[in-house]
Symmetry: C2
């Protein structure tokens, strides 16, 4: 892929998309950007990116178009809506959704795209704004293997753990497996901390005993210390995690598999959202235990 | 503490106790041992330990007496029963229960011991037979701090993460916080793997994407690969983990704290125990999802 002749589009330049797009720009690619709130493209434009006024006007200029937006309905609008990516992209272009969205929508975009002579990938990420800034995201990719191979050099600018997972929708399914893993791990952390406190133990000293052993988890290492210093800033927003868990529940129920831990976790997060904590970080779920 | 003049007792020389006692023996202490099945003391006796015919006959010879047995009822027998440790130990001796048992029993032993002029510690461990062999256990200790300090050089022969947690019962409470953490982490692992399989993904490839990120846990790193190769050997026995979860549930309910994740996990483990898998490793809980 020649940087000089490959035009890259990036739609959604918020807390995740902005640093992700900046890695592509820094590498020397010609970059076209769009964001619903146009102010969020300014830093990229100041560094040489071209601002566009719609997803479609990005798409018609570019060879490879990435998007990372909010909810599945936003994905649908950006990709399949009027003046959207699929309508305007040139035949042969590659379109890549990096939003965490539904496996079914990823399959739908893939099937619509192929009829228009486009190639699509679903490539959701994990690693948060910290991973986006450092180019250390985990990127889970579904779609055709040869298309994955063509985009891989760009994925590697954004992520340090880029894994091809299978056909269209497999990236989203993998992300759901990831979110399901997070959900009950957070129950584990909350119940462990709650027990320790109720038993009159010093929670920080308990973490010394348990964090590095069989109870150890990313949550216990990274989120429990934030809870102990009453830091509920996001990290990862409660409202986004609730969205992800709902997709995972719907998808699990459609497949007929049991997810009792996930359901308990979702109920605990719903409880803190009802308390007005949906713009806090996911560690705020401890409040459902107080 | 002079090795030449300090006599150490060790009661319960099974899969955990045997290697733990061997570290003490190798360091040059005079060691007295007892096990219900006497054959399990043979390797220690061959290395210079003295075999005794009851917990009480160990206790009357020793200055510091450790025990690691099976269930709380065994702890009660060994410490508080006829010809047991408390009945026979010399005033001033230190008695240490390293079994995972109930916080209430730890407090009871402490209060009975003090009336007999004995000092007690509760010091359950985690890290399994591998940690016991390598002297890399996590040891969580409750009791008086000055007694902890006196036993610390011996704990450090058996463990690499020895932490004083507070008054009598605090070691057991910390172990419960640990087991609660494990319980829902195992739900997370099972539901994540089950989802991946149902979605038609390659589970091993999914682990590449998710093990090192926010869904990461000791279980996902250490137990999920065993599940993928159909290896259900213990590790940590299902029946022992069920015992621990029951203690944690009883203790949580006595304190009036919510533990919905723990209860779901316990139900899943009960289900596989009913299927006859109680002598398998805890990773066999995936069978409750098949």
């Amino acid at each position: 892929m020649k940087k000089e002749s490959t035009k890259i589009g990036f739609i959604g330049t918020g807390v995740m998309g902005n640093p992700m797009a900046s890695h592509i720009l820094k590498e020397g690619y010609e970059l076209y950007v769009y964001n619903r709130t146009s102010a969020k493209t300014q830093s990229l434009v100041a560094s040489g990116a071209h601002a566009c006024d719609s997803p479609g006007s990005v798409a018609e200029m570019c060879d490879i178009i990435f998007a990372i937006v909010g909810f599945p309905k936003d994905v649908e609008t950006v990709f399949l809506g009027s003046n959207g990516i699929v309508e305007k992209a040139k035949p042969g272009s590659i379109i890549v959704d990096m939003t965490t969205s539904t496996p079914d929508l990823a399959k739908k975009i893939a099937s619509v795209a192929i009829k228009k002579g486009l190639h699509s990938l679903d490539a959701p990420v994990s690693g948060g704004d910290v991973g986006a800034k450092s180019g250390m995201l985990s990127i889970m990719v579904g779609g055709k293997k040869e298309i994955f191979n063509r985009v891989l050099p760009l994925f590697e600018l954004m992520g340090s753990n880029v894994v091809y997972q299978g056909s269209a929708g497999s990236g989203q399914h993998t992300k759901m497996a990831n979110q399901i893993g997070i959900a009950s791990s957070m129950l584990a952390m909350c119940e462990s901390l709650t027990y320790a406190k109720a038993a009159g133990l010093d929670q920080k000293t308990v973490l010394k005993s348990i964090s590095s052993g069989a109870a150890g988890s990313w949550s216990l290492t990274n989120l429990a210390p934030r809870i102990l210093r009453d830091d509920y800033e996001p990290g990862f927003f409660v409202r986004h995690f609730i969205k992800d868990m709902q997709i995972a529940i719907d998808s699990s129920e459609a497949m007929g598999i049991p997810i009792p831990g996930l359901k308990v976790a979702k109920a605990k997060f719903d409880q803190i959202a009802d308390q007005g904590l949906d713009n806090k970080g996911t560690q705020a779920v401890i409040k459902a235990y107080e």
